[in-house]
Symmetry: C2
Amino acid sequence: MVEEYVTAIPKKSEDFSEWYVQIVRRAELADYTPVKGCMVYRPYGYAIWENIQEALDRRLKATGHQNAYFPLFIPESFLAKEAEHVKGFAPEVAWVTQGGGEELEERLAIRPTSEAIIMHMYAKWVRSYRDLPILINLWNNVVRWEKVTRLFLRTTEFLWQEGHTAHRTSEDAMEETLRIAEIYRDLVENELAIPVYIGRKSEQEKFAGAQATFALEALMPDGKALQAGTTHFFGQNFAKAFEIKYLDSDGEQKYAWTTSWGVSTRLIGGLIMVHGDDAGLILPPRVAPIQVVVVPIFYGNEQEEVIRKAHELAQMLIGAGLRVKVDDRDEYTPGWKFSEWELRGAPLRLELGPRDLAASSAILVRRDNRKKEKVGWDALISRIPVALEEIQSSLFQRAKEFRTANTRRTTDYVQFQRVMEEQRGFLLAPWCGEGACEDRIKADTTATVRCLTTDTAAGATCLCCDRPAAHWAYFAKSY
Amino acid sequence: MVEEYVTAIPKKSEDFSEWYVQIVRRAELADYTPVKGCMVYRPYGYAIWENIQEALDRRLKATGHQNAYFPLFIPESFLAKEAEHVKGFAPEVAWVTQGGGEELEERLAIRPTSEAIIMHMYAKWVRSYRDLPILINLWNNVVRWEKVTRLFLRTTEFLWQEGHTAHRTSEDAMEETLRIAEIYRDLVENELAIPVYIGRKSEQEKFAGAQATFALEALMPDGKALQAGTTHFFGQNFAKAFEIKYLDSDGEQKYAWTTSWGVSTRLIGGLIMVHGDDAGLILPPRVAPIQVVVVPIFYGNEQEEVIRKAHELAQMLIGAGLRVKVDDRDEYTPGWKFSEWELRGAPLRLELGPRDLAASSAILVRRDNRKKEKVGWDALISRIPVALEEIQSSLFQRAKEFRTANTRRTTDYVQFQRVMEEQRGFLLAPWCGEGACEDRIKADTTATVRCLTTDTAAGATCLCCDRPAAHWAYFAKSY
């Protein structure tokens, strides 16, 4: 019964979608709730988020950002102040209409994003050029009413961070927009081991109210792209809508320049899909809640000594800053525990049995390639951090090779359509930049412009029409 | 103008209420928003919360608790499952009635607290006694529709943590309830330097749905008590309402025993009130976002050298794990900066001028008593941590002395009423335990039972009626 519970998961290669859902639920990362479209982040899944938060928060603070918190509610009249913004978000808003037993005079939106309330406050706080820049980040929950939801990838409520900054000049704001894109790339590639393409979004795909949106796009094993983060340059759109003005050193009143940017718990969905295999999750060591699981193996009377030693080794590793758990439950066999911790994606397993005890060693097993290695107790403290880095690096390399193999360059629309139909992946193709071609490509293939490159398109012709290309762009189907 | 801005704050002793609001806003801890009853936690205020979170999170994880996240929305039918619970919370709920452009079939409560959704999920997750205990904590936002609000102390939306645990036995659940009370006491007394009384709440004052509530009660300078945290023993109330059952080792199906507990950003309001003085905030060093502010003092051409050395000393202190800021703004005088950082409550100020440069020393000034001390550069790294601990301990002692001086024992109702009218503070008095006397005391004095003691009441007579006393209880007016 119990063995079956672990082994009944469909193969990743055969039913990716069902594999994903079962992994998420059986590894206890998340669960469905009776609240439509909303999920529970269970402790094991939330711990991954805490590790991501820690890694990003450190980078944001090192670049001068501070955390703050703004209200969950945005009065309807505030949401409406920036025309494009409200057009983009109003259809997916959840509205509070009653409070304290009474009907409200004005509906309150549950924030789908917080520009509207934050810009209002910035307008109060900014007086002089000395008050700029404002570099604020929020870790919070947002709500977007979704018709079709998917654990971690698209839910009505989700956890994220949203940064909102105000600057003195256009250059400062653009520099911030791109600095954050680079921080995100560093986070996603070096902590989550997911390679990303970064580029500007098309006019159709940009954020509601932005002048320019830059996105991180990652490739999933089913050949679809996942947008892993976005950073927006607003120009003076919001500053004008919300009257964020400052007195410059030249004595002139000027509008500020603003940005916003965010990554969400969707990143967890990405790492599950990118790294997992038929046996379950494979968590990149830097964000794994448990980096090493110690499994004591005993039959009868060695039990006490083996368990004692397992805890002793674990304490030594914890003392060195590693995240370690001893699975000393007596109701499961070692084999069952191996399967469970493979399912849950612990990067390293340390097996300790009576023979190991006699040899003052233990068996170290890598989750990603299952390679086994006998390591003396004294060597564990130096070997394990290295092994974790090997896994981290190997996961990234594997993902990068997969992306390379699935990024194709084409100028031919027939080939483009065939690849989108058969292999999917990223297609790098020249595009005139017009919405009409974008629409036609989408209608023909369901693929969209994921992001533009900065490669020169001089001499190239649009994939779809006969006009000169404006950009080489990455196209893909997407989540 | 600028000097006036800092000095125009009313004296704490003369207009406590206005002093509080102005300190909160001018120190940039928080600000009002156009969203009724909701405030912004500005970076300096939020950073205090981050330090409190870090201190509590560490204690909770060390005792086996894990963080998770549950939905913001609670369908009305779930909130209604525990009769007392819904009666207590329904009047202050904010309701979502529209989402994605449509009227919802069932209203969704914005969580005022999450028992109703969490207990539902626990019922799905718990099968056997081996699944217990579940020890989960959430850091999130909650909404309670308040008529009268006050920055940090009572707002419609606020940040807090809520822990929810399920246990195999009544003893285990009660042990958890009291363990958390002790963790909270440790947090509030040792990190925030606020002494607290802990005790059980009266039947009237307990949490809606609890069998027993234990509270931490702190004394504010105006003689009113502030409830600083609560921890609830639910018995099997919620387990029965939500069908949380487990198969015990004896083969019987049994209901679990549950608890919940929380502290909120209200703690920040408490520390502002308890420690501040006429010049502004005094932040306990362990939670102060900036523990040491370095103020370089220069006139003309020493500027560069003084600022360079200020940053060098700051870097040395930051390297030792201290939170340090150099205020090298050139638009303000040193005197203005001294006032501003006193207002903002930085525990230590380090002044560095040309004469200090010549002497290889600096002047260290304590915020709490303004004592100055000349310290050689080499000695800073050892002296400053000690000075911070001296301040921490001195703030706690001062608060404790104030509480001792304002905790009075009485058995006489006339005296009780006079003290409540004139000095306020905690009044320790014998009480029969009946709601009728509690109501009368409240009607006569506006004071309530803050918590019960475990002192024996044998032989004592109720303050208010002639029946034998059941408890010695702490009474106070409260926030």
